[in-house]
Symmetry: C2
Subunit: 363 residues, 2 copies
Amino acid sequence: MKTGKYLEFSAPRRRSQWSKMAHKKIKNMEEFAAVSGLSRPTVSKYFNDPDSVRATTRERIETAIEKYNYSPNIFAINQNRKLTKNIGIVVPYLADPFYAEIARKIEKRCVEAGFWPMLFSSYGDQQLENDILDSLRGLRPAAVLLAPLGRTSDRAAIEKFTRDVPTVLFDSNIEGIGQAFVGSDNFSFVSQTVEYLTRSGEPPSFFEMRTPANPNANKRRLAYIAIMERLGFEPNVIKVEGEGWAFEEIGRNGAFKILQERTLPTDTVLCSNDRLAIGFLSACYELGIRVGRDEGCSLRVASNDDHPYSKFTCPSLTTAAHDYDSVANGSVETLFELIESGGRFSKRTETLYAARLVLRASA
Amino acid sequence: MKTGKYLEFSAPRRRSQWSKMAHKKIKNMEEFAAVSGLSRPTVSKYFNDPDSVRATTRERIETAIEKYNYSPNIFAINQNRKLTKNIGIVVPYLADPFYAEIARKIEKRCVEAGFWPMLFSSYGDQQLENDILDSLRGLRPAAVLLAPLGRTSDRAAIEKFTRDVPTVLFDSNIEGIGQAFVGSDNFSFVSQTVEYLTRSGEPPSFFEMRTPANPNANKRRLAYIAIMERLGFEPNVIKVEGEGWAFEEIGRNGAFKILQERTLPTDTVLCSNDRLAIGFLSACYELGIRVGRDEGCSLRVASNDDHPYSKFTCPSLTTAAHDYDSVANGSVETLFELIESGGRFSKRTETLYAARLVLRASA
DNA sequence: AGACTAAATTTGCGCGCGCAAATTTTTTAT
DNA sequence: ATAAAAAATTTGCGCGCGCAAATTTAGTCT
């Protein structure tokens, strides 16, 4: 019986191929260094930084890599390293295409820079978020990019984690935690949508969850109130029931409620985020309420985020768009600076990116 | 200078806390075994399988874990282990909520079973898929769950990978590759939608991409044709242009084209998948074409998958639903069996799960 | 060309744990 | 109670590589 020896299953067949290939399987860096005609630490130096060896040496090594298809054992590398090349990326809800999109861009940049990004999702669950942080600790990452759950995060646990592991927060800020924060300027989002809506029609009511998980929601509500007051309008915040991360469902149910009760003081609604708006629009459709700025429409709906699906809602959604690239790049840049600074910044910085208004059919 | 010594930054403060905590930081398993009053290999045995030590021993260890907050170094564990507890999960496109949802369920099951799932997304890119497989090789996973890109996969690369690493394919089958396949029964999907549509109205045309990436698309087309013929109807397959994974956009553009050209022979359309349907419906809305089975509707649209957003389309989408739980559970079960079988099955099995018809407003 | 500096390379040790074989302890059967 | 079997525990070695200090080689300036 050869339990677990799956790597050996085809050894005989392979051996017969070696005669053609004319070189044997390299087991470790020692053997690889030998066939390269170098000492192991020189090869090791190359793998830590290819530019740290002489050009001729580098070429010899790279030729040998091609020939023998060698790569160092990732576990042995990390076990004894002072600082690993691992980078943890944690998002609150990966089934939300917004986070999937950001994560994708971040991963790409990390790989290009020679790091090992590892992606985790808390899926809206505090316990899972804590468990992920515990696991990450064991991976001894060079640094971590964390988009926390927000209100439902275990603040103490995250603070404790960030004391031990260099962390950049993104998307959701938690005051004072982590070495830096990179996110979006919620005031910029809401001011653009509110100003557009007021100058093109009635001032909007603001539609949101009663107890939003994401702290951006609170900032958006406050921005809405401030901007409305500055423009001389009466703010009207509509809070709908619902917990968790099923925003579309919550938006839909909330919309049914307020539309059937006919409590809307204006014909214009600004949703806190696009996922609520997606649900809102589906309720409008079912109730036969025509949404948009065309004639025959009785309601305008706008939102914030420019969710990947907001192009395909009915009608398509007018929204304030995240600068996805800037947030992703900014997060990664900050992270790399943090790593180069030895894991600490002298002071915590906050970087916010402005929104770009995207006019579509819904408002 | 203390480059990279971030773990030490608060050492003095911590030391002063030790007097309260009354125990010092455990550095390795040796020290941990000492404070537990046991030898290291006994402790090691516990971590490999808590049930493999005496109950009293187990209790002593678990008390000590609580007290000293010790966990073994993950890199040292894996470096010398014959078989790791790592499990690779690879999906073709994580920004598609369908895969995010499946991945989430799979990850959960793996963690519960004591494994270390690691999630990767190919993001529709063949090179990235190959790179991920290369990385996975280095992680020496106990097994890998792979949902390949499909048509755009590098078949030879995947075959080579599966020769070395025990792999279960899911979602997208590649004939003969991997130790097993777990997926959905495309015939079941299409037969249910086609039969429903034909008995409740006109027989459907089939709407799809000209060169779909996913092999399920081909099975669905063939199933559509077979079922239509069996029912005595003329099949009508509409192929629209477009490459890549932006299915909504492709569906939308394709719908504009065929709707404006008025080439549809029936008033009923079956989309190959929900993401195409989402785009299709958005085009219908913009063109003022009312979709559904109510009076005043000129078109019915149905689809396959029960995408998380299909509840929120306008109108909501009638579709054949994946049995998400079964596919996720079935994949994981098969994977565990594979691991217990030493990484090889005597013969390759294919497990297919039937669809469940979900009637909504669109057809 | 010689001396000095900087870069490249080598020697040797240790990381934290898995694993097999040897030993001890506990359980089971008589 | 005693022997045999089974389970639990211990001893000792090796995994593949990082890293610091020592050594050699290459580059620079006068």
